[in-house]
Symmetry: C2
Subunit: 320 residues, 2 copies
C-alpha cells in the first residue's frame, strides 16, 4: 500500500503595526489557510496569546505536517540582548518574543524582523531571486526594510539593521513614533497616504473622497481604492507620497548601489500610482550611474511577502 | 655577502576634490615621502599627468622596490562600464582612469573610490580593525563613504555604492553638485564648515573670524584653526555642522546597524568639536538599541586614511 504523503507545511505569521496575517504554507508556497486579525488594542501578552491562537488555527487546517512557525515582526531586534528592543507600532518592546512564543506552541519557533522576512521571500522565491545586491521596502503602517548585500541577507551588528523607515529625509522634521524626527516612514508609508487623503478631504469637503469617507474611515486603503477608480485628487495624493518614497530611495540607491528595490507591504496595493512617481524621482535625483542601474519593482508576493518569508524562515530552520 | 633588503613600498594616492596626497608607504605603513598638490584648475588629461608625475617623484624617493601604485579617487565608479561615471569635484567623469594611468606608469595600477580606500585602511590597520559591520565617512570637500557589511568590504552592484554624501537629509533642499537636492554633504562637509564660517563673518563683521579672514581665504580650515584657538563663534559653527553630520549618521545607523562609524577626511582636523555634537544627535535621534550599539570615532590615519588605503590596495593587488 502506497501512502499519499501530504506536503510539509510551515505557518507564516506577519505581525504588522495594524494587522496580523497568518497562513499555512506548503513547500511549493501554496497558501492553504489564511487568518487575518487586528494587531491593535492588546497588551504584549494578549497579542502573544492571539498570535498563538491564530497559528494553532492555521496549523489545524494545514494539509500536511507542520514543521514550524515563523514570525516576521514589525520591531527592532536586539540580537545581543535576545529581545525586541523596540516596536513603535506594537506592544512588544523588551519582550523575549521567541522564548515566550516557544512556551505557547508545540512546533519550533523562528523569529525575525518583518522586513527581513519579506526580503527573504522575495530573494529566495520572488522578485529579487538570485540578486547580489537588493533592498526590500515594506510600505504599510510604517516602512520596514531588508537588505541583501554582496549576495547575503544582512542584518547588521546587533540584528537591528535595514530600518530604512527611520532614515532621516528631513532633519528637524515631524516627530516619529520612535523618537526621531523627519523619518522616511512619516512621509512615505501607508499612513502617509491616509494623511494626504485627510488633507485633501479637509481642503475640499465636497470632493468624492470626503463624501466617500462619510461612512468609513479615511485611511490609505480608501484613498488607494478611489485612486484606482480614477479619482484625480486621490491619484495626486498617492503621487505626492510616491515622490517622497522616491526621495528615500535616492538615499538607498546612493548608499547601497542595489540592482533592485522591491516594494511590498499593504501600500503596494496602489501599484504604479505609487511606484511611478517614486521611479521618476530616483531617475532625476540619484547619482546617474546608480539611478540607471536600479530597478524598482513591486513585491512578487505583494502584501504577503512578510508572511511568506516568515514561513520560508521556518522551513529553513527545519532544514527543509 | 648578505644584502640588506629594503622594505617593499607602494605609492598611495588620494585624489580629493581640493588636493592630491601622495606618499611612498612601506609594508609596515611607514610613510617615506609625501607630496601634496592642488587637484584644481586642470582638465582630465592634465590631472592624470600631474598625478603620474607625483607618483614618479614619490617612487624615486621610496626606500625599496615599488610594487604598485594605488589610487583612491573622489568619484563614482561604474564597474560595468569600467570608467569613473561621475566626479562632481574632479574633471574625471567618463574616463577609463585605470587604463589611462597604466599607460603613464611603469608599475601596476590599482584604483578605487577614495571612501573605499579609506575604509580599507581603517579596517585592515586602523580604527575599524576586525569589525564585522563598520562605515567610513571621509569628510572633506564633500563626504565620501565606505562600508564593511557582514565582514566584507562591499561596493554595491556596479561598484558605485557607499556614496553616503549623497543621501537625502532634506528633500527639496539645496542643489548638490551631483544634480540631486538636500544631500548630506551639502550640510556636513568641510565646505559646509567654511560656509558656516562665512555666514558668521557676514553676520558679525567685527568678529575674530571676519578679521582673521582679511588676509587669507575663509575656509573650513581657518574656521577649524580658530575654533581650536578657543573662538566661540567658530566652535558654534563647527557644532552646527557636527549636528548635521549626526543627522546623516542617524540614517546610516538605522539602515546599517554598524558597530562603528569612522570619520576621516580633512574636516576631522576639527576632532571632538565636530564629533561631539554628531554623537549627541545620534544618541537622541537614532533607534535606541542601534544608537547605543555604535561607536563614532576619528580615523586612526586621520586625513591620510584614503592615501594609506590606496597603498594597501596596491599591496593587496601585488599579493603582499
Amino acid at each position: 500500500m502506497v501512502a499519499t504523503v501530504a506536503a510539509n507545511c510551515a505557518i507564516g505569521v506577519d505581525v504588522g503595526g495594524t494587522k496580523v496575517l497568518v497562513a499555512a504554507i506548503d513547500e511549493s508556497l501554496g497558501v492553504h489557510h489564511r487568518v487575518t486579525q487586528s494587531s491593535r488594542g492588546l497588551d504584549g501578552t494578549g497579542l502573544l496569546d492571539r498570535l498563538a491562537e491564530m497559528v494553532r488555527e492555521a496549523a489545524d487546517a494545514a494539509p500536511g505536517e507542520v514543521v514550524g512557525a515563523g514570525f516576521g515582526i514589525a520591531g527592532i531586534f536586539d540580537g545581543k540582548a535576545g529581545v525586541i528592543a523596540s516596536s513603535p507600532h506594537l506592544p512588544l518592546a523588551g519582550l523575549p518574543f521567541e522564548a515566550m512564543m516557544a512556551e505557547r506552541l508545540e512546533v519550533p519557533v523562528s523569529v525575525d524582523n518583518d522586513g527581513n522576512t519579506a526580503m527573504l521571500a522575495e530573494w529566495r522565491h520572488g522578485a529579487a531571486k538570485g540578486a547580489g545586491d537588493a533592498l526590500m521596502l515594506t510600505v504599510g503602517t510604517g516602512i520596514g526594510g531588508g537588505m541583501v548585500v554582496g549576495g547575503r541577507l544582512e542584518r547588521g551588528s546587533s540584528r537591528g539593521g535595514a530600518e530604512f523607515g527611520h532614515m532621516v529625509i528631513e532633519f528637524d522634521g515631524p516627530l516619529c513614533e520612535c523618537g526621531g524626527h523627519g523619518h522616511f516612514e512619516w512621509y512615505a508609508s501607508g499612513n502617509a497616504i491616509g494623511r494626504a487623503g485627510q488633507e485633501l478631504a479637509a481642503r475640499e469637503p465636497g470632493c468624492p473622497l470626503a463624501l466617500g469617507a462619510a461612512d468609513r474611515p479615511l485611511t490609505g486603503a480608501l484613498v488607494t481604492e478611489m485612486a484606482h477608480d480614477g479619482d484625480g485628487g486621490c491619484i495626486d495624493a498617492i503621487a505626492q507620497v510616491g515622490g517622497r518614497l522616491g526621495q528615500g530611495m535616492v538615499s538607498l540607491v546612493n548608499a547601497f548601489n542595489p540592482e533592485l528595490i522591491v516594494v511590498g507591504g499593504g501600500a503596494i496595493a496602489a501599484g504604479e500610482l505609487l511606484l511611478g512617481p517614486a521611479r521618476a524621482v530616483v531617475e532625476s535625483e540619484a547619482l546617474p550611474s546608480l539611478g540607471t542601474n536600479v530597478s524598482i519593482v513591486p513585491a512578487h508576493f505583494g502584501a504577503d511577502a512578510g508572511m511568506v518569508g516568515a514561513a520560508t524562515l521556518a522551513f529553513e530552520a527545519a532544514g527543509a
